[in-house]
């Protein structure tokens, strides 16, 4: 190839934009294929999955508008997969699966599949899907409960060559499926991931055929430059600052006194952005320990949103953020600490902590604290009507923090997650459960010039005996803070309401509980913080 004096973004910005947009559209198409063919309501109705395209060097080039915690962790997934299977060895029709947080994963339920894309024997890149399987085994149905080591959280899958010559390897698949609940549905979900990868392969090849593989690889490289350029320009336009903030998590589900500390120091200088977590607590017994991939995702998200506007997320952006996270700290989990709640809980608290730090320098650009959680609850058991085992995993929205521009949204997923709820009518038709309330807790948002978003009350009655239940939540103790004089939001509250009328308050993380017919779980998520002093506050 003749070396080009100028890269495609400068030489032919129009073709660049056309091909770059097409790469993003492919990610969206890939996701819709997985959703349509999957077997879990968590995927087809709640969309708990993310898709990305990588270049031939394994760098993330394009991602769908999916789940930030999935997306930010993608570079770690890719690195682990290519450490185990060097890029030069991949053949068409190979597929590598992994879920181990200590080998490129985030938490065990998020199962990644990477497949290469070849065009006329030339490696053009890879597709990556990260799909939340509703169950991957472990001590409780839904694989999102409280335990004290990773082995109890489910089956760990290190990078494995699970597809060869486009065919899944029956032996590996059988081993995995033997270790999960409702294996036939998980098998369907895995097929859906393959179907998504095939669609991505088809589309990328079309691009290669149309524009040439050389041009495609140039666009893939420049797409990263492009995003990085925008982020750096935006950072440059902000005044430099060194700010820090620390907060404690609300327990780890095991030790009633555990209040691990997360401390973040942010240095914004010119077009660089550095976050130092030195001083954070060491790992704790319960599952709130955050793998570095998850912590990094929180930093990437915060950086992208701080930079504001439509910046296509990819490796170019991620390279801007420098992260210091001491090994063994709660923000860089050490083997074999349990980690399942970091993805949904710790990650969102980290964002709130970073934002509280940034608010000291840029109060007009950042929101107040949020409900700081995904509020995951799981239910599982056997439906006597069908004798079929069921597993239910759902997240519950809460209050978003208000901003200088307006009030925080209520009952919504914030920051690192964005999965939808499961329609009550779908859940009740599929499982022996009945919802008794799903409403906004109107007064729970902090008060101020712009009010914080309202939290949510969701309550569920189980209609059969022997149902296993767990809750992973946050902010039962520490309220979401306001910014610029705004008030804090109301805290979260979780309860077990027995069929006999007994009420037992539950901590932020607990389970697995055994529920009997007529028992209820009630979850009230926290409200968001307010922005600004309200006009009738006394000065």
């Amino acid at each position: 190839m003749i070396p080009q004096s100028k890269s495609i973004i400068d030489r032919d910005p129009v073709t660049f934009e056309v091909v770059r947009s097409a790469l993003y559209a492919i990610c969206a198409e890939m996701k819709s294929v997985v959703m349509r063919t999957s077997f879990s309501p968590l995927l087809s109705l709640s969309a708990d999955l993310s898709c990305a395209l990588l270049d031939a060097h394994g760098k993330v080039v394009a991602q769908g508008r999916d789940i930030p915690v999935h997306l930010g962790a993608a570079p770690f997934t890719v690195r682990a997969a290519f450490d185990a299977f060097p890029i030069e060895n991949w053949k068409a029709g190979d597929g590598v699966i992994l879920n181990d947080p200590y080998s490129g994963g985030t938490h065990l339920p998020d199962v990644s599949l990477i497949m290469p894309i070849f065009h006329e024997d030339r490696l053009c890149g890879f597709s990556l899907s990260r799909v939340h399987w509703p169950d991957v085994g472990g001590i409780a149905a839904g694989s999102s409960s409280v335990s004290d080591e990773i082995f109890k959280e489910g089956i760990r899958i290190p990078p494995l060559l699970i597809i060869e010559g486009h065919e899944p390897r029956a032996d590996i698949l059988a081993l995995i499926l033997a270790n999960v609940r409702v294996p036939q549905d998980r098998h369907g979900d895995f097929r859906a991931q393959i179907a998504g990868a095939h669609r991505a392969e088809l589309r990328v090849r079309e691009l290669a055929r149309r524009y040439g593989a050389d041009l495609l690889s140039e666009v893939m490289a420049d797409a990263q430059t492009y995003s990085q350029r925008i982020v750096r320009r935006r950072l440059e336009s902000l005044p430099d600052a060194v700010v820090e903030h620390e907060e404690m998590l609300d327990g780890d589900g095991i030790d009633p006194d555990a209040r691990p500390l997360i401390r973040a120091r942010i240095e914004k200088k010119g077009d660089s952005f550095m976050v130092d977590f030195t001083g954070s607590s060491p790992c704790v017994k319960g599952p709130v320990n955050s793998p570095l991939a998850v912590t990094a995702s929180s930093v990437y998200y915060t950086l992208l949103a701080l930079a504001g506007g439509e910046i296509p997320p990819n490796n170019g952006v991620y390279e801007v953020a420098q992260i210091v996270a001491p090994e063994g700290a709660i923000v860089n989990a050490a083997y074999p600490s349990p980690v399942v709640a970091a993805n949904t809980e710790t990650s969102n608290r980290i964002v709130d902590i970073l934002l509280a730090a940034l608010a000291k320098a840029y109060p007009d650009r950042v929101p107040a604290g949020s409900y700081g959680s995904a509020c995951v609850y799981t239910l599982g058991g056997v439906d006597p009507r069908t004798s079929r085992r069921f597993v239910h995993y759902e997240t519950v929205g809460g209050g978003a923090g208000a901003t200088a521009a307006g009030p925080g949204a209520g009952g919504i997923r914030v920051h690192m997650g964005n999965t939808m709820n499961l329609p009550i009518e779908a859940a009740e038709a599929a499982m022996p459960i009945r919802f008794t309330a799903y409403q906004l807790v109107t007064e729970s948002g902090g008060t101020g010039l712009h009010r914080g978003g309202a939290g949510v009350r969701k309550a569920i009655e189980v209609l059969v005996d022997g149902v296993e239940a767990s809750i992973l939540g946050e902010r039962t103790l520490s309220a979401a803070k306001g910014v610029a004089g705004g008030g804090a939001g109301a805290v979260a509250k979780f309860s077990y309401l027995g069929a006999d009328g007994k009420v037992r308050p539950l901590p932020a993380k607990s389970g697995p509980h055994k529920l009997s017919k007529g028992d209820q779980l009630e979850m009230i998520t926290a409200g968001g913080g307010a922005w600004g002093r309200s006009s009738n506050d006394a000065e």
Binding site: G411, P423, E425
Partner: protein, 691 residues
């Protein structure tokens, strides 16, 4: 002469009317009258009176695509509306699906529920998923609350009402009795499908629009009837026509009325000219739309989100479960503004200069460069086109805008900048066409591109080349496609019923009794259509999926007179369809039925063949109308011919050239050639890429 068939489309600036003799399908008139601000019905009456000046309108049928529903929603001018929900669940419309519409932003805005908190009431009642009553309905006090709140409309949406709607019915009857004049609508009637947010949202939108749309439609109906018009028919989002009565009862089905009519016209064009696969491509001042016609039929979807873009920002919008012709819409029109982002990359849209100030070259004070300005700079739009339009066209303003905002900052020449703006706009529209095709598993190379709308023909040849379309066609009356399409619709109603059962647990009696119930429901709706039409045709659809999946495929189950397929046959058909769609199927998984759907259609007997099919092809060597100087990509000047399509019937024109066609402009590029047919349509044959 037979009775008249009149199509009317009310736009922001003009109201289009097109008049056919329904006896032989011949076109009698096509014209525009100015729209009347705030009173869309007036322009309709104006148009009818104008028609009455030359022909008798007695017993005419008026088919009308209306944006009254959409505008009422977008401008939040609907009724004061209450929502009555199962106790504990009255926030479902505010909680939505809990996801946010934008990811990497702190300032998330979400469409506010159309019924505010103080008008959302908890009603004690509960039905389980199997339809059994868990808690009986208690209605005491609700009528007083509604009366005290002064509501004009009421939506009722209870959990699982798609299985058992007895509670909804009882409460609706009580309110209707007690509060005459209040518009009452319930989810089991509007949208008896599972998923509480989507069903409640649909019902609430229906309630919110009920009074406004009802008043508009019934007043217009009276106005027209008093002038001797036999019947008014309204275009629904599915492209079908309905009576004023049904339109008033289900205004939520009219949200995409105007665009649907356009796709109906495109489908009729496809059938009339023997081109089964078309992409209907429309570009106006602020937006562009693409919709797919396959095998002569428009693609249909059953859910969409209304009003989800506010000032170019995603805010979620309102879920509507309703059969809608499938359209992809983007913010790219002639008025879209070109700008440079932080990475020094040229962008076009989604911001638009709108009608005011409009493109710089319109001399209305606009100073930002738009797509229209880029054409003015190049010379593909010239002053001649704007004669008698009220626009004072000035190329210099366009040159200045492009120079200052694009060319100088990028260090480019003005002509390079102008071509780049058009290239980006074309790329955006090509991406939109890909969304409408490749994202749905279709290859755009199997489609011809049919261009309509003010700016559609100008870009069609370039967009067509970019997506690799087989040919590009500019049909007769490209600027009046909505009005034309209104007259081409059939009366079409779809009713659905959820029947969530594994196929293996079903027998034929379950299917036949399910369809019998649907037939009863559709009969009630059809009885509200005026008599005198042809007999309805019934089409049965089963929506099925593998157990555990949540997306259904539509399995055809024959027409009204056919025997119902057995559950085994349905399963075989489903598996075949699934394999075709996804490339694999799951032999071990059971197939589950989700919905029965019955579609009733009544033909009005108008096909559009007379205007779309060309007759007696003449052969004339076309003479150019004039020559025009345009800027070339390399900055040089080129002189190219401008033809009038009307003068060139039967001839072939080669690019580069410009063809003026029924008020629109077609830009033919080098290497392209176009055939002009005797009915005025321009067919561009594409040979390779653009030069």
């Amino acid at each position: 002469m037979g009775d008249l068939l009149i199509g009317i489309d009310v736009g922001g600036t003009f109201t289009d009317a097109i008049v056919f003799d329904s006896g032989n399908g011949s076109l009698l008139a096509a014209f525009k009258v100015p729209s009347s601000t705030g009173e869309p019905g007036k322009a309709v009456v104006d148009a009818i009176e104008k028609i009455a000046q030359s022909v008798t309108i007695k017993d005419a049928v008026v088919c009308h695509g209306t944006t009254v529903g959409t505008n009422t929603l977008i401008e939040r001018r609907g009724s004061r509306t209450a929502l009555l929900s199962t106790a504990g669940f009255s926030d479902v419309v505010a909680l939505r699906r809990q996801d946010r519409p934008i990811l990497y932003s702190f300032d998330v805005r979400i469409s506010e529920p159309l019924a505010p908190k103080e008008l959302r009431f908890d009603i004690p009642e509960r039905v389980a998923a199997d339809g059994s009553v868990v808690r009986p309905l208690e209605t005491s006090g609700i009528v007083e609350k509604l009366r005290d709140a002064g509501v004009e409309a009421v939506a009722i949406s209870f959990l699982h009402s798609y299985v058992n709607d007895a509670h909804e019915r009882a409460l609706a009857a009580e309110i209707e009795d007690a509060l005459p004049g209040v518009f009452v609508t319930r989810s089991g009637d509007v949208c008896p499908e599972f998923r509480e947010y989507e069903r409640s949202s649909t019902t609430l939108v229906n309630a919110y629009l009920g009074q406004t749309v009802g008043k508009y439609v019934s007043k217009l109906n009276l106005d027209l009837r008093s002038r001797g018009i036999q019947r008014l028919m309204i275009v629904k989002s599915n492209g079908g026509l309905t009576s004023p009565e049904n339109a008033s009862r289900y205004p939520v089905h009219l949200i995409e009325s105007g665009p649907a009519a356009q796709l109906t016209a495109a489908a009729a064009f496809a059938r009339a000219t023997g081109r089964p696969n078309l992409v209907a491509f429309d570009m106006g001042g602020t937006t562009a739309k693409a919709g797919v016609i396959r095998n002569g039929q428009p693609e249909m979807v059953s859910e969409f989100y209304a009003d989800r873009l506010v000032d170019g920002r995603e805010v979620g919008g309102y879920a509507i479960r309703s059969a809608v012709l499938d359209l992809v819409e983007i913010g790219a029109g002639g008025g879209s503004i070109a700008w440079i982002n932080e990475a020094h990359v040229l962008k076009v849209g989604p911001r638009s200069a709108g009608a005011v100030p409009g493109p710089a070259c319109y001399s209305r004070g606009g100073s930002l460069p738009t797509v229209t300005d880029a054409h003015a700079v190049i010379g593909t739009l010239t002053a001649e086109l704007f004669a008698n339009s009220g626009v004072r066209f000035n190329r210099e303003y366009a040159v200045e805008a492009v120079r200052e905002h694009i060319a100088n900052p990028l260090g480019w020449t003005v002509d390079r900048a102008a071509y780049a703006i058009i290239d980006i706009a074309v790329a955006n529209m090509a991406e939109m066409v890909r969304l409408a095709t490749t994202q749905r598993g279709l290859d755009p190379r199997d489609f011809a591109l049919l261009a309509s709308g003010g700016a559609g023909p100008l870009h069609a040849a370039a967009v067509g080349a970019e997506i690799g379309a087989s040919e590009v066609i500019v049909p007769p009356y490209p600027g009046m496609f909505s009005a034309l399409g209104a007259t081409l619709g059939t009366i079409r109603h779809e009713v659905t019923q959820t029947l969530l059962r594994n196929l293996r647990d079903l027998d034929e009696a379950d299917l036949s009794s399910g369809f019998a119930q649907l037939a009863k429901r559709v009969d009630v709706i059809l009885s509200a259509e005026a008599a005198g039409h042809a007999r309805p045709r019934f089409e049965r659809i089963l929506e099925a999926r593998f157990v555990g999946q949540l997306f259904e495929l539509r399995v055809p189950a024959g027409n009204g007179d056919d025997a119902l397929p057995s559950p085994e046959q349905v399963e075989r058909t489903f598996r075949g369809l699934y394999l075709r769609e996804h490339g694999f199927e799951l032999p071990d998984a059971q197939v589950q039925l989700v919905n029965l759907r019955l579609i009733a259609t009544i033909d009005l007997g108008h096909s559009g063949d007379r205007i779309f099919v060309r007759h007696d092809p003449a052969t004339r060597a076309p003479d150019p109308l004039r020559m025009v100087k345009i800027l070339a990509r390399d900055g040089g000047e080129a002189t190219i011919p401008v033809y009038a399509a009307g003068d060139a019937a039967g001839g072939t024109i080669t690019g580069p050239s410009i063809i003026e066609h029924a008020g629109a402009t077609v830009w033919l590029h080098a290497g392209q050639s176009a055939r002009i047919e005797s009915n005025g349509q321009v067919v561009v044959t594409l040979s390779g890429g653009l030069q």
